[in-house]
Amino acid sequence: MSDEPKTPGTSNRVLIAWLVGAAVLVAIVAVDYTVHHHAHFAADGIDVDAMPEFFPVFGLVCGFVLVLISKTLSIALKRKDTFYADD
């Protein structure tokens, strides 16, 4: 128990982890640019998913949207976790 509480980013190891993560994302973007995606629903004229970097963007947007939906709902539905126990 000698370690002092640390916040992320203060130690070198954590910094390295952050950098590796960033590097992976950059690599994904780079590789994705070279891969040919074919449109899944070409028959319906939908080819947005064949655009380069569609899926990274889609992932980011979905992450944002879902979290925002959750948090919006949370405002209305949030209760103390003893809510039902209080009966």
Binding site: H36, F55, G59, C62, S70, R79
Partner: protein, 600 residues
């Protein structure tokens, strides 16, 4: 007696009876040997194509029957039980282990049920076993949660039973050769879209199965009940109930469109509520709903590949969900804390648990080289194939396109939620000061074994593909599963939804909150309504009734000036006056019915 004469479920039920007789190491050995024995027995039956018949009310029961999806489900149920036993062995919860054997036995029984009655009986056995597991959780609200769980499943069971009776009666009238047979229903009734009396049986069966699958509006029982199990109990719970429901839906209702919509709702619901969840095991329960949603989509699409995908995903899901719950259970066991806000910084002292959790998390999000990738992508591919097939035929298929996009969105979401968020809050974020060690060896062994299976199935999908219902389609798909395009789709989506998590970290605050769900209706609204509206009303009625009784002439006898002994003997004579009045009333009713109705 040959091995194939022995129903696999019976092995586990025998185990449930035997286990209390053993202690210590022997108990461990027996408990671990029995699931493996049941596995061997299952495969003996599967290769023999087992069939046994028992006469029942002029029809035949078929307790050992091999459906196309039986091998994959029977196998995973046995493996799961063995893993769960290994995980739970340091904990002396005797009742729970026995109940787990009953529970798994019920699940295995459903997987081999060749007729509706057998299926229903094992179905209810599962309800019983799982309820006892919840009760032996001894958490704060285990008892109440178990009760709600039991009530929910009892109602589901009634719907299922009612449906079975209707369907069997209809079949008997149609002169079907085997009215009890449990098989492909959706082909028997055309026009699923109409909800008439002649389809009522099918709908009721579907509803009964969907309750167990955690479909809306009954999704909330999963996050309500499962976190109340013990560390090992929740592991058992996560595996069987929902997956047997998936199995039965797969056998009976493949290709029923409504399952797609329900599945999409569940997939999104699981993520949305999961993001908000603070209890780590409750978060995993929400993701369980999300994953079952994927399976329902697979069943609803109903092509061979999508059914394969649903079955494979159920297999993979049992493993990684158990792994995730083992890991979180280990954290709970070692720290006694389950709120994400109270944890953090555990990577220092629990590396094994951390890596297992990460592997489980990657699997649940379908990361390449994990089992989730090889199973889930089958469903995705099936949606695309079915869509282009229908496009070629000119049939409406827009819903499939929408489903595909939402499916992918939910995939991205579950990575954010069940992998990144969970790992981050438990093992990293700010240091909570907790320094617990890794759990005892048996828990570590169980986690490592399941993590190994996740990776194994991710790297060598052929192992799983060859026991799927439609092996030909699966083998075809095995050739393209690791195409660069597939891999890059997943990496791109997952990587950047992870980025979204870190970008949004400031608003992902962690308080001790729960979020209201539909179960608010029966947990809060109905009890309150009963207590504050109906109950006073009923009491008013009761008082009114008493007042009327008091005013009846017979009542006067008590107060009349009769000599005391007679008055006492008359005591409660007035209580007779109401029934006598009813007698006269009934006579009147009968006379009216007899005299008036025939003349009408």
């Amino acid at each position: 007696m040959q091995m194939t004469d022995l129903p696999p479920a019976a092995v586990l039920f025998a185990g449930a009876l035997l286990l209390p007789l053993f202690k210590g190491k022997w108990r461990f050995a027996v408990a671990l040997a029995l699931p493996l024995l049941a596995l061997a027995d299952s495969w003996a039956v599967i290769t023999e194509g087992g069939a046994s018949f028992i006469p029942f009310m002029g029809m035949t029961l078929q307790p050992v029957h091999v459906h196309a999806a039986t091998p994959v489900f029977a196998t995973i149920f046995c493996i799961m039980l063995a893993g769960g036993v290994l995980f739970s062995m340091n904990d002396d919860r005797r009742v729970e282990l026995t109940a787990a054997f009953v529970y798994a036995g019920g699940a295995l029984g459903v997987a081999f049920a060749g007729d509706l009655v057998t299926m229903f009986v094992f179905w209810e056995v599962m309800t019983l076993g799982s309820t006892i597991i919840i009760w032996s959780g001894r958490q704060n609200d285990s008892y109440g949660a178990g009760l709600r769980y039991f009530g929910m499943h009892a109602l589901g069971g009634v719907a299922l039973l009612m449906g079975i009776i209707i369907v069997v009666t209809q079949r008997l009238h149609e002169g079907a050769a085997d009215p009890l047979a449990f098989g492909h229903f959706s082909a028997m009734v055309d026009g699923w879209s109409h909800l008439g009396w002649d389809n009522a049986g099918m709908w009721l069966i579907l509803v009964g199965m969907l309750v167990n699958a955690g479909a809306p509006p009954f999704s909330s029982w999963i996050p309500d009940a499962y976190p109340e199990g013990s560390t090992s109990g929740t592991v058992f719970l996560s595996a069987f109930t929902t997956k047997t429901a998936v199995f039965t839906l797969l056998v009976a209702f493949a290709g029923v469109e409504v399952l797609i919509y329900l599945g999409v709702y569940m997939a999104i619901y699981g993520v949305v509520y999961g993001v908000n969840a603070n209890n780590m095991r409750r978060l995993l329960c929400y993701s369980l709903v999300n994953q079952v949603g994927f399976m329902l989509i697979g069943i609803g699409v109903g092509t061979k590949l999508s059914i394969d995908g649903a079955a494979a995903h159920a297999f993979a899901h049992i493993v990684y969900k158990a792994l995730l719950l083992m890991a979180t259970g280990s954290v709970l066991a070692m720290t006694g804390k389950f709120r994400l806000g109270e944890l953090g910084g555990l990577y220092r002292t629990m590396p094994v648990t951390m890596w297992c959790l990460i592997i489980g998390g990657l699997s649940i999000s379908g990361f390449p080289l994990t089992s989730g990738f090889t199973s889930k992508s089958m469903v995705v591919q099936a949606i695309v194939d079915e869509s282009s097939r229908m496009a070629a035929l000119g049939e409406p298929h827009t819903y499939l396109i929408v489903t595909w996009f939402l499916f992918q969105a939910a995939t991205a979401g579950v990575f954010l939620d069940a992998c990144v968020k969970l790992t981050w809050f438990i093992f990293f974020q700010k240091d909570s000061g907790l320094r617990p060690p890794d759990p005892p060896w048996n828990m570590k062994a169980a986690m490592i074994a399941f993590a190994f299976i996740c990776i194994l199935l991710g790297v060598f999908p052929g192992i799983l593909y060859q026991i799927l219902p439609y092996q030909g389609e699966a083998a075809e798909y095995a050739k393209v599963v690791y195409s660069l395009e597939h891999v890059m789709v997943m990496l791109g989506m997952l990587g950047f939804s992870g980025l979204a998590f870190f970008l949004l970290l400031p608003i992902l605050k962690r308080g001790s909150y729960i979020h209201l769900d539909i179960d608010w209706i029966w947990r809060r609204f109905i009890p309150r309504f009963w207590k504050e509206v109906l109950l006073p009303l009923l009491q008013q009625l009761d008082n009114a009734q008493k007042a009327i009784l008091e005013s009846l002439p017979g009542r006067g006898m008590r107060d009349a000036n009769l000599p005391p002994p007679i008055a006492r003997r008359m005591g409660n004579m007035w209580a007779v006056s109401v029934p006598v009045f009813l007698i006269v009333l009934m006579l009147l009713v009968y006379l009216v019915v007899y005299f008036v109705i025939p003349t009408l």
